[in-house]
């Protein structure tokens, strides 16, 4: 190339940069739309990706971060010494160990403060640890601080959940001196190695006279990925200790199984949102970039006339799309990480894990993929621009090709609508490709909206169904039962406390004004034919129990000898409705016929629910340990509970607000996440409309001048622009709603199956007729909101200026 040619080339290169900068700056609205669209797309991608990863492996994440214990071994303190336990850290295969820690089980603690002051607590596994940290089981303090002196205690989140609070005290009246411990912190152990922790020097004061504290040792192993490996590891440790010293152990795999059981069901809906976001990203970027390039064709013609090569044109327009996209992508990554933080914090709590953060690879992969996507999307229209002949390029792009949609416009002109409206309704037919892209965006927006609302409804139904005994207003716990059952003690052991009489409690409830209905509940572990070990058998008493557990299929039991069971029970026993199974109660065989499938996730292995008389008829034991009460409409719950407790406390029973049991739900977290993802997707859909309306308004600005010159008012102008997107929005909404419903109908059962259950039909069929109509109008709303700004601009456009526009 000659020096002149080189100078010319350099000059053109510099000119190319100026053209790109000018293009970006000149079309400010489109630049902003590209920035916002890519920002939203990348934000939702990062967010969905982060949550997907977080939901898939929260336990692994927390386990690695906290250096969780593959195995927690409990040794009998009278058979092994701390030195022997410490030496077991050198057993082959052990890569790290913490301990030994003394541990005791303190019974009948009574809290002051918290949600249930004065109520007896279940047995508490207290471990003596000087610090929360260590090479294994690095405890995460979620509130307060670590116990520094005797008299202080740190509670586990898994023991108290949200009900524990710093500052409350625990009294142990069974122990000498009735020690009182103040809660100074709440901590979390990923594998649940303790219910509470104190300074080691506190342990002797918590030990019953004549007993020896156990010794806990925590290990990590080189190989502990399977039950077999963990068992081998356990055997190796046991072999290193005196025979019979190991009295118990806890594998990390059981904790992992529990954690994944609670999180896995949510993966399908996060994936669904991720896929929706991805598709919308493609549509919106394609729509915006194609629109930007398409609207600049005349300018391209001029540039070519000035000597720009086709390759330079292609580069210029890809770069022109990439610059604002890069800004949007960068902002999207930042926003995605910012939004992910609180959601992941909630997830940490919900999942029982710690310090979740957006995976680095997502922060790298999402923007890279977005850049590639933008470049690829821009390439096709840019290539078209590059290949255009100069004269054609100059001629094209000022307005839609004349002739398209004429018939539709002509026919619409005959429709008895205000002319501004019929003119607007005809506009989409002039740009069918753009109209389809906008419609697709709105379809996905409406789909996301429908899907999200359905999810929230289903989640609410599921949550209500999952709550203890469904929707009872008040729960009554009987302090002790005459046999078995899950007992929550009232008052301290040692006090001469008779067992509450269920009949007396039932009579008090029945006599209490404000009681609408009530039923008794209780439970016992029994052997079930076909299942190893024992199974929780829940007994219910009273006709009102029929509403206590949501029915999936079959019918509720109507007589002794019948039972309803959750899906998991049917799966594990290979039975179905109509099958008869056999319970073994103290050697007595009790045949029970399964008459219904219920939605109940409380028992890990699936419980069996039957009439209390099924068992009492055989063994004559009253297993009722509590009551669930529904109040009459308008009854003040607090007053009712107060009045009822005045009668119940003397008979050692206690009424509580059943709503309190519904606290600590993960529902708000998922609702928040659904809200953010939906807001983003609908906003992106709205931006697609905004972009299209801006392009349309700009391309038709001269026509707009003519309309105004012949008397179109600002209000009519706004009506025309809004009408131009309204039909598309309405149609897209009508299409999006059934797609959203179909997506919901597919995803929710998949989520349920992941959790090991079917769902009552009502949990899936959550859409009502009026809701569907409103949702269909959602597409219209998205379109109208998206077009409001350009409509306003069109209304404000000066007629004289518009008429002068070529």
């Amino acid at each position: 190339m000659s020096s002149h040619g080189m100078r010319l080339g350099k000059s053109r290169g510099g000119a190319l940069g100026r053209v790109v900068r000018a293009g970006v700056g000149r079309r400010r609205v489109q630049t902003v739309v590209i920035v916002l669209s890519t920002m939203m797309a990348v934000t939702s991608t990062v967010l969905a990706g982060a949550l997907l990863v977080a939901s898939r492996a929260p336990f692994d994440h927390a386990f690695n971060t906290e250096r969780g214990a593959h195995l927690s071994v409990l040794a009998d303190g009278s058979k092994a010494t701390s030195a022997q336990l410490a030496a077991s850290a050198h057993v082959q295969g052990v890569t790290a160990a913490s301990g030994p820690y003394q541990q005791i089980i303190a019974e009948h603690g009574t809290p002051s403060g918290g949600d249930f002051p004065g109520i007896g607590l279940p047995p508490l596994l207290i471990v003596g640890r000087a610090t929360p940290g260590g090479p294994v089981d690095d405890l995460a303090l979620t509130q307060g601080r670590w116990a520094a002196t005797p008299g202080e205690i740190v509670l586990s989140t898994s023991y108290f959940g949200p009900r524990g609070s710093v500052g409350m005290t625990l009294t142990f009246p069974d122990l000498p001196g009735k020690p009182v411990l103040t809660v100074v912190g709440i901590a979390r152990s990923v594998t649940g190695t303790g219910d509470a922790w104190v300074q080691p020097s506190q342990i002797p004061a918590l030990t019953q006279p004549g007993t020896v504290p156990g010794i806990q040792m925590l290990y990590r192993f080189a190989n502990a990925g399977t039950d077999t490996q963990v068992t081998a590891d356990r055997d190796a440790v046991a072999a290193a200790l005196p025979h019979g010293a190991v009295t118990g152990s806890l594998s990390w795999l059981s904790a992992k199984q529990d954690a994944e059981r609670s999180t896995a069901p949510f993966v399908p809906f996060i994936v669904a949102f991720g896929v929706l976001g991805l598709i919308m990203s493609v549509i919106i970027i394609g729509n915006v970039v194609s629109g930007a390039v398409g609207a600049s064709l005349r300018r391209i013609g001029i540039l070519k006339a000035l000597g720009f090569t086709p390759a330079q044109i292609v580069r210029a327009y890809i770069t022109q799309a990439l610059i604002p996209s890069a800004v949007g992508i960068a902002l999207g990554v930042v926003l995605g990480n910012i939004f992910a933080k609180p959601l992941l914090s909630n997830a940490e709590f919900a999942y029982g894990t710690v310090s979740l953060s957006v995976a680095t690879w997502i922060d790298i992969a999402a923007p890279c993929a977005a850049v590639v996507l933008v470049a690829l999307t821009a390439f096709a229209p840019a290539l078209r621009a590059g290949r255009l002949r100069t004269v054609e390029a100059i001629a094209v792009g000022r307005s839609p090709t004349v002739g398209r949609g004429r018939i539709a416009r002509h026919l619409l002109g005959r429709v008895p609508l205000p002319r501004a409206v019929s003119l607007g309704l005809g506009s989409p037919f002039a740009r069918p490709a753009r109209t389809l892209a906008v419609a697709a965006s709105v379809v996905f927006g409406a789909t996301a909206l429908t899907f999200a609302l359905g999810l929230v409804s289903s989640f609410n139904d599921v949550q209500a169904g999952q709550n203890r005994n469904g929707t009872a207003d008040v729960a009554v716990d009987i302090g002790a039962t005459s046999d078995g059952g899950e007992v929550v003690h009232v008052g301290a052991k040692g006090v001469n406390q008779p067992a509450a009489n269920p009949s007396a409690v039932a009579a008090a409830i029945a006599a209490q004004p404000g009681t609408r209905s009530y039923y008794g509940t209780g439970g016992v572990e029994l052997a079930v034919s076909g299942l190893s070990g024992t199974t929780q058998v829940r007994v219910l008493q009273g006709a009102a129990a029929v509403d206590s557990v949501p029915l999936i299929s079959g019918s509720w039991f109507t007589a002794p000898g019948q039972a309803v069971v959750p899906t998991r029970f049917l799966q594990e026993t290979g039975t179905s409705i109509g099958s008869t199974i056999t319970l073994t109660d103290n050697g007595v065989l009790i045949p029970v016929r399964i008459v219904g499938e219920v939605f109940d996730l409380r028992s890990r292995n699936g419980e069996l629910i039957t009439d209390a008389r099924t068992l009492s008829a055989v063994d004559h034991v009253d297993r009722i340990s509590g009551f669930e009460i529904h109040l009459s409409p308008g009854v003040d719950r607090a007053s009712y509970i107060s009045a009822l407790n005045a009668k119940l406390h003397p008979v050692y029973a206690d009424a509580q607000d059943a709503a309190a049991d519904r606290g600590g739900s993960t529902l708000p977290f998922f609702e928040g996440m659904i809200a953010i993802l939906t807001a983003m997707l609908t906003t992106v859909a709205g931006l697609a409309v905004l972009n299209a309306a801006v392009l349309e308004t700009r391309e038709r600005v001269h026509d707009l001048g003519v309309y105004k010159a012949v008397g179109m008012s600002p209000r009519q102008t706004i009506a025309m622009v809004l009408s131009s997107v309204a039909l598309v929005g309405l149609c897209a909404g009508v299409i999006g709603v059934p797609i959203g419903i179909a997506l919901h109908s597919y995803v929710v059962p998949v989520m349920a199956h992941t959790a090991g259950t079917n769902l009552p039909h009502a949990y899936i069929a959550v859409y009502r007729g009026a809701e569907m109509v409103l949702l269909a109008l959602g597409g219209l709303v998205i379109a109208i909101v998206g077009a409001l700004l350009p409509a306003g601009w069109a209304a404000k456009t000066r007629t004289a200026t518009a008429l002068r526009t070529e």
């Binding site: 004349v402 002739g403 949609g405 004429r406 416009r409 002509h410 002109g413 008895p416 205000p418 002319r419 501004a420 005809g426 002039a430 001269h702 026509d703 001048g705 003519v706 309309y707 105004k708 010159a709 012949v710 008397g711 179109m712 008012s713 600002p714 209000r715 009519q716 209304a795 404000k796 000066r798 007629t799 004289a800 008429l803």
Partner: protein, 247 residues
Amino acid sequence: MDDAPLIELHQVTKRYDGGPPAVDDISLTVRPGEAVAILGPSGSGKSTVLNLIAGLDRPTTGTVTVAGTRVDELAESGSAKYRRTQIGMVFQFFNLLDDLTVGDNVLLPAQLAGMPRALARARAAQLLDTLGIAKHARAYPGRLSGGERQRVAVARALINRPALLLADEPTGALDTASGQDVRTLLSELNADGQTVLLVTHDLTLAQSCATRTVRLVDGRIASDTAHAAGSGAGAGVAPFTTEGAAR
């Protein structure tokens, strides 16, 4: 003829972005039934005057009153209503909407004004017939000749029976024959009582259509001459003294 002025510009000045005045302190009165041609070279301010009268622009100072309405004080909605009820506009490049048929183009102002459909259709049919373009009612403007398009534009301008017809270089984009056609049309309209204000640099158009010629130079009225239509500007007609000229 009603003596009350249809158009009254009083000491109107228009500046764009603080520059020199495009229109500089002009006063002009047009009475119903007149056909006024505003003549002048490019940049003389004649299109600005037209835009001010049409309510497309606002004066920097001064007042513009048309049919008793202070056009310079109208908001956007008021301007739109004013344009569809009081005036009709014809442009040099027709400004027809290519996606609408001739009939739909003509109907548009009536439909925007909310005229009953049957009445609007009857009026459009009458105008198309009167202007000799009824056979093109279902055609699109792109298929018509320049003269025919301008006739469509005139029909559109007249459909709401405006008190004032404004024409901006109506023959500027036409060949000689079509130009003559439009000139004849405008003369006939004025002869039927339609007040016409046209802006042109075409002396022939002014001479053939206007009963009065206002010459603008550098935004000021250089002369204001009344004459019989077809007689030629200033041909034996006594000058009509405007306020500006009087000063």
